[in-house]
Every structure is written in structure tokens, then in C-alpha cells.
Symmetry: C2
Subunit: 105 residues, 2 copies
DNA sequence: TGACAGTATGTCAGGTCTGATATAACTTGA
DNA sequence: TCAAGTTATATCAGACCTGACATACTGTCA
């Protein structure tokens, strides 16, 4: 695993220390977090591409600015459900969502 | 929308009546439910293909038989998170999950 | 430097989801 | 038909997630 990914995982609220510590994450857990990170990144991409603020996005998806920030950070308190619903609310298609998830890790 | 899909949505706990009632479901909501149904169907496919019982799957994913049944029925009380985690626990890859979601509605 | 817009982080009450349990319904073979 | 195996449905306490709010941080412009 690359350092950059470890950093993302850490800031996403997952402890990633030395090799021994890292073994605490099973393959499934890693896959799940990466999947969440992919959705989170995509959410930010869409927002930035359109020049929207987190506050604006929050209004569109009936949430709050702070939660949008947490979503983009793939915070552990954010579910895949919320990410997917948000993406759909912002106009992304089911096909798009699937492709984002399927993108090679 | 086909009758068969309306039936799936209904049994998944979503009210689908006449045309007017149907309008209560927004496009996003429909896309989200269909996404869940796709994951649910895939979970059942994997299980049946391997000849596993719901009880066995429950043990593998550290859950209960009743919840596996609800998952396969795409019950409203089941989240996408749970479906995705379960699929990953059963050996499905992130790529596979993405493809299932992306499959044309 | 200050003021401002935007983003990040911490907290929490209320609502939702989860595994577990009980039990009903369905299938299949003898 | 009965019994055993499997799946479906109902319920609930405890765990978790959510939007909202407060506040801190960051960048930018004058």
C-alpha cells in the first residue's frame, strides 16, 4: 500500500500505523474504505467542477455544510447510503455511481 | 415502469399504486431503490450459486438468518452499507460491486 | 492587518439500523 | 401426512448515523 493511501485512510478516521498495525484491517475492510473514498472523491469532484460551495450542496441534498465536509473526507460517521443518495441528488446516474465504485483501486 | 418492477418495489416496502401515487417517488429515490435491489439480487445469486443457506451466510458475515432474508428482499431496514459489506465478506470484489450497481436499470 | 467566504472539526438529541430472538410459512422427502 | 430444513416476518434494545449548531481553521483580497 502506498503512503498516500495510508494518509487518506488515516484522515478518514482509520488508524494506519506500521506494518503490524496495518494488519488489523482485513481485505474486506480495506476494500470497503477504498470504495467510500472513491465516492467521497467523486462527490468533491462534481462539486468543484461546478464551482459549488459545500453550503450550496448541503442545501440541494437537504443536509448541512459540516456533513458535506465529512462526506468529502469519507469520515467514518458517513455511510455509503448517504454518499450514494447525495450523488444521485446532485444528478449523477446509477451507472455513474457504479463506475466510480468499479474504478481500479 | 414494468409491473414486475413495481412488484419488487412493493415487496421491498415501497408503496407503488396507480400512476399518481407513483409520482411520489422521485427519480433519485427510484434510482436508489433499484440500486439496492440490484445488490440484493446479486447477494442471493451468489448464495444460491454456491448452494449456501441463509444461515450459513449469516455466520460468514457475522449476522443473523433473518437479516440475510431482509437483505435479499431489499427490505427498507437494510442499508447499502450492509449489502456492500456482506458482498465483500462473501468474496466479491469492489469491481464486481461496481459492475452490479452500474448494470442498466 | 482585518474582514470575509469557504472549509474543517467537535458535539449531541433524535431518529435509524443492527443482530438477536421468536415464530410463521414454505419445501421436500419418506 | 409428518418431520426436518429452509426462508420469511415481527419485534426490540442497543448501537450507530444524521442534521444542526458552534466554533476553529484556511485562504484571499484590500
Amino acid at each position: 500500500m502506498q503512503k498516500s493511501m495510508e494518509k487518506r485512510l488515516e484522515s478518514a478516521g482509520w488508524r494506519v500505523g506500521d506494518a503490524a498495525d496495518f494488519l488489523e484491517l482485513t481485505d474486506e475492510e480495506t476494500a470497503f474504505v477504498e470504495l467510500k473514498l472513491a465516492l467521497a472523491d467523486y462527490l468533491r469532484d462534481i462539486r468543484v467542477k461546478h464551482g459549488w460551495t459545500q453550503t450550496y450542496v448541503a442545501r440541494v441534498i437537504s443536509s448541512s455544510q459540516s456533513r458535506v465536509a465529512k462526506m468529502e473526507a469519507a469520515d467514518p460517521s458517513v455511510t455509503v447510503d448517504l454518499l450514494v443518495k447525495s450523488l444521485l441528488a446532485l444528478g449523477a446516474s446509477r451507472l455513474e455511481v457504479g463506475r466510480v465504485i468499479a474504478r481500479a483501486a
